[in-house]
Amino acid sequence: MKWYIAKRILWTFVAVWIALTFTFALVTASPNQGEMQAMMSCATSGDDPAECREQYRERQGLDTPVTERYVNYMVNMATLNWGWSDSRSQAVIPAILDAWKFTAQYAIPVLILSTLIGYGIGLYSAYKPYTVTDYAGSFVAFFGISIPNFWFAIVLIMLFGVNINALPVYYQSGIPLEYGWISVKNFLQLVLPITVLLTASLAWQMRYSRAQALEQMNQEFVKVAKAKGASQYRLMIHHVLRMAAVPLSTSFVGSLLAIFWSGSVIIEQIFAIPGLGYMTYTAIVEQDTALILATTLLTVFLAILGNLLEDIAYVVLDPRIDYGNR
């Protein structure tokens, strides 16, 4: 098992290296936005665009051979020197450090709530499949998966902000700094973003836990546990969830991260929350390549890390798996 985990960690480094190389290749192969801008501004001010292009390339270190740039890029990435963000006039790493709290303050509650509620309803549905409760659960799940995040957010803003006026609809970043992150005022302005993100993630957790638990329901050990008089709670939590946790753990991080990233860009753009998603959005709008790369890589690294933890959880949770062979 130790050997498996060591191999798995080594593989993580390979994956990180491939991700870095891939993004480097993409940026090198694509038309350079900054270069075009430099040429454009030169052309409008009457200078020779070709000369400006050379100057720009020299300034950005693009006149050196690709191999040298690749080595530089890798060294910079490894030493956490991720570049300078033009749009924020700030180095990239401090910018991320500023922004992540705004994302975490709603992402972590959503993660906890969706897992607890989603698994709860999913297991309950699996305990009594094809009943009215199960159908209602299915409907809620389909509703949550299908409703477009951005549209749901707009509809909520329309209902609560315009018609009812009960909740603050646009986020004010001064509030957590003034009243503290955990305060009623900050919580109130997070209700709508949390609701929007919760619908999607809750739905996935519900569907998936129901499907996995249902697979276990026909197993012999369920019959034995029932025959021994295990209560519904004990049966589902101690026996079924314990078994379903193995397949559930393998898709947990991947599917949730996917929902969270796309969700955070949209939600933060709509509610004006200055977190990582909003940073990505403004970076693209303002063509800030260093920041876009950083946010993309951050998501990739988190996904790779999550994948590693999943795989380790897998062998820890299920001792039957022959990890020597993988």
């Binding site: 299908s146 995040n149 707009i154 509809v155 796309s262 876009i292 998501t299 996904a303």
Partner: protein, 387 residues
Amino acid sequence: MSSDYNDISFEDIEWDSQDVSTFALTRAGLVELLSYLTIAALFVYDHYVIENAHPLIFGWDVLSVEWMFLVTIVAMFFHGFYPLYKNTRMRQFYWKRFKKNKMAVIALAWLGFIFVVGILGPVFVDPPQIRFDNRILPPAGVTATINGVEKTGTMQYPFGTSAEGRGVLALVVYGMRVSMEVGFIATVFTVLIGSLVGAVAALATAMDIGWMDEVLMRYTDIQSVFPTFMLLLLLTYLFGSKLWMIILLFGFFSWEGVARTVRGEALQRSAEEYIMAAQASGANMLYVVRQHLIPNSANSIIISATVAVPGFILGEASLAFLGFSDPNTFSWGRTIAAGQANIEQAWWISTIPGIFLFLTVLAFYYVGEAMRDAMDPRQEVGGGGGL
């Protein structure tokens, strides 16, 4: 062939397939190939002879995505509808199981409606045009106060107009086509790449070329770790946002699930004796993959494809909402984003396309669920799945 679906006997032997070589074509295959060639020829004619200068036929200027959509429709016809139509027993069997799920039948009808209107609608409905004399009109019969002026909607614009004076109905109809194009083209790419990779990986294992399987599946693992949405944001930023490119990117970065499913299925199959028999009678790798492995994994492929379509539709709408999709298309996401600015006085601009988007995605999930129940023999259909 018996029409009684309960008659599952193994007495029907397809003697025709006895002498088929890898590259031999059936009649349907020939028609399919001819259709592709016709589309390709028209494409070349449109691009190099008349050089996109004027519309190709009947005032319809076929755009690049529409060429891909034509190919997709042909592929779906010959690999989806035609085999179902020909095989009466299979069709009746699946339909009997499918229609147990009432919601799915309604959902299928809705999707049929969206599909037909999406294809034919733009022929009858004029493209949504900017008309400043018609800015922000409410839907027919609704009265609303716009910038202090009270207005009542008329039947000229049944769903009202947007801030630029575009008819919301026309925007919805043109959005249907965009959504169908994105959903189906990307899915066809996904299925094509995914089933090829999966089948080859499984076959490699079966033929003791283990390293090939290892390389393919490790790559699949890495790619599935990449968050597709962020990758799309990066790629559309770097390479520009043409609709056909977004569709291709969706297709190229979403096949991992299909590949894993097909590999799993095909691994089970390739251990079976008919594969050995085929190989013993001289079938090569390509033939085994095409004739045995992929068709026998078809059910799993179709199920995962149905669930992939709504994901692509939502993904494109999200990109469009953020303003990173093709600015020349009337995507639902773009209309919803445009309505956001006037949400306080004109609810219909965002709400109506949103309802269409929501119902379409919901319908795909219901149909996918019912198809899984109908096609997966391991599923019990006793109580009917889902709703």
